[in-house]
Amino acid sequence: MDFELTEEQRMMRDMVYKWALKELAPIQEKVDEEDWFPPDFFKKCAEIGILGITIDEKYGGLGSDVLTQTLVVEQMSRFAPGLAMTYAAHSNLCVHNIHRNANEYLKEKYLPPMVRGEKIGALALTEPNAGSDAMSIRTRAVKKGDKYILNGTKIFITNGPVADVFLVYAKTQPELGAKGISAFIVEKDFPGFSVSRKIRKCGMRGSPTGELVFDNCEVPAENLVGQENMGVHVMTSGLDVERIVLAGGSVGMAEQALEYAVNYAVEREQFGQPIANFQMIQQKLADMYARTEAARLLVYRAADLAQKSPRGGKGTELTKMAAAAVLFASETATWVCNQAVQIHGGYGYCLEFPVQNLWRDAKLYEIGAGTNEIRRIIVARELTREAFARKAQR
């Protein structure tokens, strides 16, 4: 077993860390407090070449791997978790998915400007009444001549208010349920598309979350991604990788919260000594470290598997491990950040200290991209699948 990152992975990790520290850390307070999305964020990402990590070189990407992308999200999340999520929604949820599933024409048309940061991407699946139960989406797509006409509402869409290109799921044949879903690329200027509002959140502020309305929205038929009614394939092929990449964010937040907590515990003196001398603080720090490192290993391992697996989805090791990775990493991050706030005492409760921000942000990954309850159901389903099959044969 090889636990070493490659030279390339290490360079990318260190480069993004330094960049995030210099470019993002100083603006994070404003980003959080004002829920401010820095307009030049994607341009800056493009400058350091991180928008197309898993994308072929012929579209301007790096042709690199899932773990490298995970490391980027991890490092960015240490200082700006909301912006890191916005980055991941663009670069992974949207761009990576198009890269994986769209035809050559669409890839040549959409990928290069997105990799250059000129166009921002988003993924639109969730609806007001279809969250965990994603297959019950009601947005309709009806083919009329050389167009599809979309009608419906999407909610909680990361980058919704700022994106140019949306990967949208809609029902082409509702009577077929999950087998009647298709994926489309929708541009923000298509007639009948609008963003109805930006939604205010507990954390992950600065990452614009929007509600989208499709009102007889006209989409050229050629913008169908994959085959008609095969949208679930597009959805699930991307979901495993998405979960792993976002789990990197949880690892980054936990790692940073631990670093803040260690430094604070050594600096802060009460009862004539650094609070790090008290056993209670030591116990907390040790658990924070142990859980963070366990999460890191699981997430990296899942990223490695994602790179090697030809496919994910039901019945694969990848699906099980990806769900377990984001489940464990997200709960670890919330727990670790909560402990970090506690170690900072009253200071931890004040907005000028970043630990409370990390805690608010960390909680999101227990919900976004599939809740932890659903992830546990997936892991259990995969764990018991073969045993059930054997039992059925007896």
Binding site: N129, D133, S136, K201, E269, Q270, F271, G345, Y349
Partner: protein, 392 residues
């Protein structure tokens, strides 16, 4: 469950809950967003005489106890613990005067606090003295008929809004912890200033400010009790107030449960209300069990502390209420956000605020680590007095 409350106690709960329903729930999100001090609601509470709860009748109060205070703040916490903290902090600020103040101080300060005309505040913490209260450096030096105060207090709830402050300062540095004293300082006293309002993760409607004493002169009669009693006054006050912090946790957690169950019954996924899934049922079951356990602890502890004025285990019991219920509050709030899924994370719904608010309960009035220290040390002492062996 019936906790066998008296008619009067039930009435108090109803009055407080009425204010929650009519006045607090409709505005809590806005007060949080704007970080606005809840003056209008303080006036409602004043009109209902609630500020008089534990002020003796002869000074215009209701002369009630810890239990009644807990019942009221629990209800208020269902609305907003920022508001409930503002209310409770006034009681905390008044308590040193109630417990140890001269008749003169009581007559002067308690009636307007009881009527809710003036808010009080409790000022102990300093930048270098949080958990370690004995490290406070604010000095009070007696000069003739006055004391002159110098120093800085940090994170004082109701700072800048209150008129009356119980301030802890060192009168005799050579005596260590026995050299601290407690004084009444009024807003407007010469040399008494306020720093900027703190921006916080939660309880944003509650004002938290720095107090600065720069050759602040106050009459000698403002000394509460005697010189050197400072930390005894602080500890006795905490013994009375900490069950109240627990009650804030119970109220907040109850609100989180109420919202979660209502939501889970209405939210349909996979063709059924999500409450039909076992995971959700078990979550709300755990939430409800923890809340009931916390409430039962607090009510019985409060009754006990009210009946036994000088209970030897008062500090331990009060600390238990604070830790247990505040831990429950944070756990339950985290789960409530989870039950509401994406909606739980959005500011349009009230649970993310409950989560942000809940965390303060584990920090202020002595962190939960410090409470555990108290409980552990008291247990050690108690068992030292027991002759019997339990290990055969």
């Amino acid at each position: 469950m019936d906790y066998f409350l008296t008619e009067e106690q039930r009435l108090l709960q109803e009055i407080a809950y009425e204010i929650v329903k009519e006045r607090i729930r409709p505005v809590r999100a806005e007060l949080d967003e704007k970080e606005e001090f809840p003056w209008a609601i303080m006036r409602d509470l004043a009109q209902s005489d609630l500020f008089g709860i534990w002020i003796p009748k002869e000074y215009g109060g209701l002369g009630m106890g810890i239990l009644e205070n807990c019942l009221v703040v629990e209800q208020l916490a269902r609305g907003c613990i920022g508001i409930a903290t503002t209310f409770a902090a006034s009681g905390l600020g008044a308590y040193p005067i109630v417990l140890f103040g001269s008749d003169e101080l009581k007559r002067k300060y308690l009636p307007p606090i009881a009527r809710g005309e003036k808010l009080a505040a409790f000022a102990l913490t300093e930048p270098g003295a949080g958990s370690d209260v004995s490290a406070i450096r604010t000095r009070a030096v007696r000069v003739g008929d006055e004391y002159i105060l110098n120093g800085t207090k940090q994170w004082i709830t109701n700072g800048g809004e209150a008129d009356i402050y119980s301030v802890f300062a060192i009168t005799d540095p050579s005596k260590g912890p026995r050299g601290a004293s407690c004084f009444v300082v009024e807003k407007g006293d010469p040399g008494f200033f306020f720093g900027k309002k703190e921006k916080k993760l939660g309880i944003r409607t509650s004002a938290t400010r720095e107090l600065v004493f720069n050759d602040c002169r106050i009459p000698r009669s403002r000394l509460i009790g005697k010189e050197g009693l400072g930390f005894i006054i602080a500890m006795k006050t905490f013994d009375k107030s900490r069950p109240g912090i627990g009650a804030l946790g119970v109220g907040l957690a109850q609100e989180a449960l109420d919202i979660s169950v209502e939501y889970a019954r209405k939210r349909i996924q996979f063709g059924k209300p999500i409450i039909s899934f076992q995971v959700i049922q078990h979550k709300i079951a755990d939430m409800a069990m923890k809340i009931e356990a916390a409430r039962a602890l607090i009510y019985s502890a409060a009754r006990y502390l009210d009946t036994k004025a000088d209970a030897p285990d008062a500090s331990k019991i009060a600390a238990m209420c604070k830790v247990f219920a505040s831990d429950v509050a944070v756990q339950v709030a985290l789960e409530a956000v989870q039950v509401l899924g994406g909606y739980g994370y959005m500011r349009d719904y009230p649970v993310e605020k409950l989560l942000r608010d809940s965390k303060i309960l584990q920090i202020y009035e002595g962190t939960n680590e410090i409470q555990r220290n108290i409980i552990g040390q008291e247990l050690n002492k108690e068992y030292g007095r027991i002759k019997e062996s339990f290990i055969r």
